[in-house]
Symmetry: D2
Subunit: 338 residues, 4 copies
């Protein structure tokens, strides 16, 4: 239930205000050099507190290696990373335990887990769980190698392609705001994926919708395709390598990568924890009343999403690459006696 | 690779112009009454040849029962259905084997399967494979029972909410056209799904992107959420049952069903086989040249999609219901001696 | 529930006295030449009616190709085979429906499936389902190639290593009898399998215990190891290739193939359907009474087991070989234009 | 690759002489009371240093809770336990790195992981990984409840049913020795398991062969069945509940639990690390030479096995119970406001 992947498999665990969050990563080829420093750039990109509209909560957020790494290299055994929760202020959350927060999982978690869920800071539902995913993404990117590049960025905030302005509008409104995040992958071989259930789209969308706050996923032309005619949508093949001039397909046809740029986008809803006063049911008084969230939150959670989307993409694509024998199960060989 | 589901599991097989297409369905509770007649309404909805813009190819398209049904009831063993391919005109396809058709899987299939793929009519990539999925959907709907209703329909064609007009525009243009299909589910219990990887969104999107020609999937507010502010997006909870007046969440919060209507939409691209003359690479002459498709094709493949989307939805939701013990593994009991 | 494997995946279906039994095989590399004739030798080995002590029931038992094969080669899409049930005498079974037969699944099937199970000839529990497994084994052996040899044979019947005598003793007693079947694999590379849950032993034993009537599985020294001391059991490594003179390990250490011969054995119980009069509960009269089985049955079901055990072994080992990138996902390439 | 189970899923990680070993357990119903004290009895049984023939290495070996537990109850989110490695003497192992130890995974690990494996104390292959499995077993037993009892014990050492004498013989020989361990389960409902691949035998054997040093698994009559005739082997059904007087089936027929006692046995080889001088290939000198193991080891590793086998059994059976809806996904409900 908390696992993704077939050969490259990640399992996430932990709670926002528990001891830690973490990840277990199975299927990492042996011989991959891994240092804590490798994780700094992407973990920094995921962190809040660095940009306008991002939460002031700060964690060092570097993975603590617990298994699967020996003398600076992956061993082929499962890798486990922990991220300690040092900087929690659970009292913020206990205060409004009586109010299931709109847009959050408070209500459904309570129903599903019979009241035993760790509700502090969203518990196991928290976006803090994505720390492990970003770390797994760092590994996946390293294994994929330099020929395959994955780049993701926010392309719109609140409908505004000038991101700065879109964010400013939200700040002025004292409200959270939604956004679009796009991901582009270059250098993929032709032939990843399968028709139907294991299509590249099915697999990437599965992973993308696992990112909290995602409401939509589209590939290539996406929803615009619904307004198009066949002649304008079809990408004419221009040479023996399968290159197309247009890319409405977004690099995937029949569920399979076609060698062109893979392009897809996610829609991210406004952060549910808005600074505005909201209404919701009060479990203690049994009436609808007002409350406001005092915790530290991002105005635009999408600002952290690009590196998470890159990580999900790398995890899914590496799994396909391993399935298709495009990557060796041993990343490099020692000069060994064996 | 051709299997979906954990407890209720479907495996599809077959080729468009081979002997048959079919499906194997494991995890069907024993004691479900099943007659061929049960499949007629949904199979009719999936068929072409009945409405403007749909392909004139006609197959009887009723499932031939091969296993798992005895004396009119499911036995608990896996059910296998075949659909014979009687009405094939493969010569239509062999003619333009030299041209990998834009928007189709010809090129990627050829690369991935080394030239051994059955290319006739798209082979294993054909939308004809969805016949089995619709049949599995009939079973899933029956097991879900009457309290859970799943309804899907085309809401836009070529950007036009008057469907008739949208289709007429394409007919006049002699071109294929894209569309939006929406699915609504009522009567779901609270608590289906998991945070992250096994979220209801991840699972439904996985299945929806397995439908040929789907370019986007969105839940509730979907891509519009990217343009919204938190206060307007959040659905205030109004009573102890979790009812919300607005439903931007689309019935899912934190990956889990919240008891409100589940709403999601898919974007379907224009049928790749347009009547228009197109350009593509010619494998025989090694130049880009023109060709046109002479086969029988839908102008708007989305017209067949609602019943397929319903089926995928029923398959995924039944799997969640079985996982959550909301449905018995034996549908009904005989008055038995045992 | 009726599926085995990760990359090379088989799904079985059908009933002994229904229309057919069959198998769906996913993950077959494209480009494998396949003719019905390829299946004759192993299907013949599995058949009854040819040797002393085997059931006189005869079926043609050649697979009917339904999907995944085109122009004599695998296409990369899932292969489906059916085996028709022509030669059934269901009335034999209906007669003693009142008696849940000892050693058979009648009683548990009735409890588990609420009385809806197809009880004729064991229904979905019948060893006839192994026809599909043997056919999948033929494919797996072909993909594994000639360097890897899998050989299985009966080594004891009723405790007698002279097989003929062991069988004769049973015939004279007019009773069924148990046996030992051994399987030896040569030519495996070092490195298949994982420590713990995906060990080669776990995976092979999982498959072997899926063969009806198997009561025990042992590798190398097996149960004799319980009587041994460390110095005598350990296999000293004799050269840089890992060769050992003794082979108590049976070719697997730490869950992983070590390059020596893989050796394992199964214990097969006596056929439950003995010609002798037996006692069991009578569901109709609610007393224990006597009954005798009039169907056609093997005295020693183990006589059919070698080819089934070979097939299970080939299926499991091919899955490991594909996982370890030891075999290409495309078996051969056409001289193609692509 | 390091994961077992479908609904109740365990994932193990860690190395013998790394920082820790641990386990991630998904699918634990919410509301199960869990204290460190719950784990003491079974963890004590698994520990070495307490009995003749067991290794003097001692670890506190109580699980450190890292996720999934809140206020003394399971939350429904995945539980992670760590066991720190405090008492390691890696220098013992580095000394004979030149000698791949017979019976150990040194050689195969080196080949499979290209020399990057953590070789200290067997690394990820170590039986120390079973600490997590025993902890998961404690949880599984609690969820199964008191009506289902699982009991395992050593029944023979070195062929001697007087266990004390069997062990004494090995001590006198200064050699390690093999043993038989038996497991008995009472209170199971009828109907767990499936015919063929998901049979109870397949699933339990899969788990049992994941225990290091296991060479054989047998159910009920086991290998003795190979020497028996049908009339003596068949268990006559004696009443409407399916009770049988004899139990050659070991509680499983047709892959499915039949309500009688489940009985199975494993054969455990002698500990590979014997105090005797052994021969093996020397990777440094490229000759076969002698070496002796100086580490701390059990003479009879089977002495620790009963609690591990119980744990594996509980894990597998709980998974079946959850699949069959015999256990609620929420163990108990709080008096909640929701």
């Amino acid at each position: 239930m908390n696992t993704l992947g077939r050969i490259f498999r990640v399992t996430i665990f932990g709670e926002s205000h528990g001891e830690c969050v973490g990840i277990n990563i199975d299927g990492v080829p042996a011989g991959l050099p891994l240092q804590v420093e490798d994780f700094v750039p992407d973990m920094e990109r995921r962190k809040g507190g660095k940009q306008k509209g991002a939460t002031p909560r700060q964690e060092e957020d570097l993975p603590i290696f617990k298994s699967g790494i020996f003398n600076g290299f992956s061993t082929g055994a499962p890798i486990t990373f922990l991220f300690e929760n040092k900087n929690t202020r659970s009292e913020d959350y206990q205060k409004h335990r009586s109010h299931p927060r709109p847009g959050h999982a408070d209500f459904v978690a309570h129903e599903k887990f019979g009241g035993f869920e760790d509700f502090r800071g969203g518990g196991h539902f928290s976006a803090r769980l994505t720390a492990g995913i970003v770390a797994a993404g760092v590994i996946a990117k390293k294994v994929l190698g330099e020929k395959i590049t994955i780049h993701s960025e926010v392309t719109q905030i609140g409908g505004n392609t000038d991101i700065e302005k879109g964010l400013q509008a939200a700040i002025e409104r004292k409200d959270s705001v939604g956004a679009i995040v796009e991901c582009r992958v270059n250098g993929l071989p032709i032939g990843l994926g399968e028709p139907f259930f294991d299509s590249v789209e099915s697999s990437l969308a599965h992973a993308a919708f696992a990112i909290p706050a995602v409401k939509g996923v589209e590939f290539g032309s996406g929803f615009a395709a619904a307004n198009m005619y066949g002649l304008e949508h079809n990408d004419a093949i221009e040479d023996a390598s399968g290159k197309t001039r247009t890319n409405h397909a977004g690099g995937i046809v029949g569920g399979i990568s076609n060698g062109n740029e893979l392009v897809y986008r996610i829609a991210v809803k406004p952060t549910s924890s808005t600074p505005q006063v909201q209404k919701t049911w009060n479990w203690d008084t049994n009436i609808v009343d007002e409350f406001s969230v005092k915790g530290r939150h991002d105005l635009c959670v999408a600002l952290r999403a690009p590196v998470i989307l890159e990580a999900m993409t790398a995890i899914v694509l590496l799994d396909f690459m391993l399935l298709e024998n495009k990557i060796n199960r041993v990343y490099q060989h020692m000069e060994t006696r064996g």
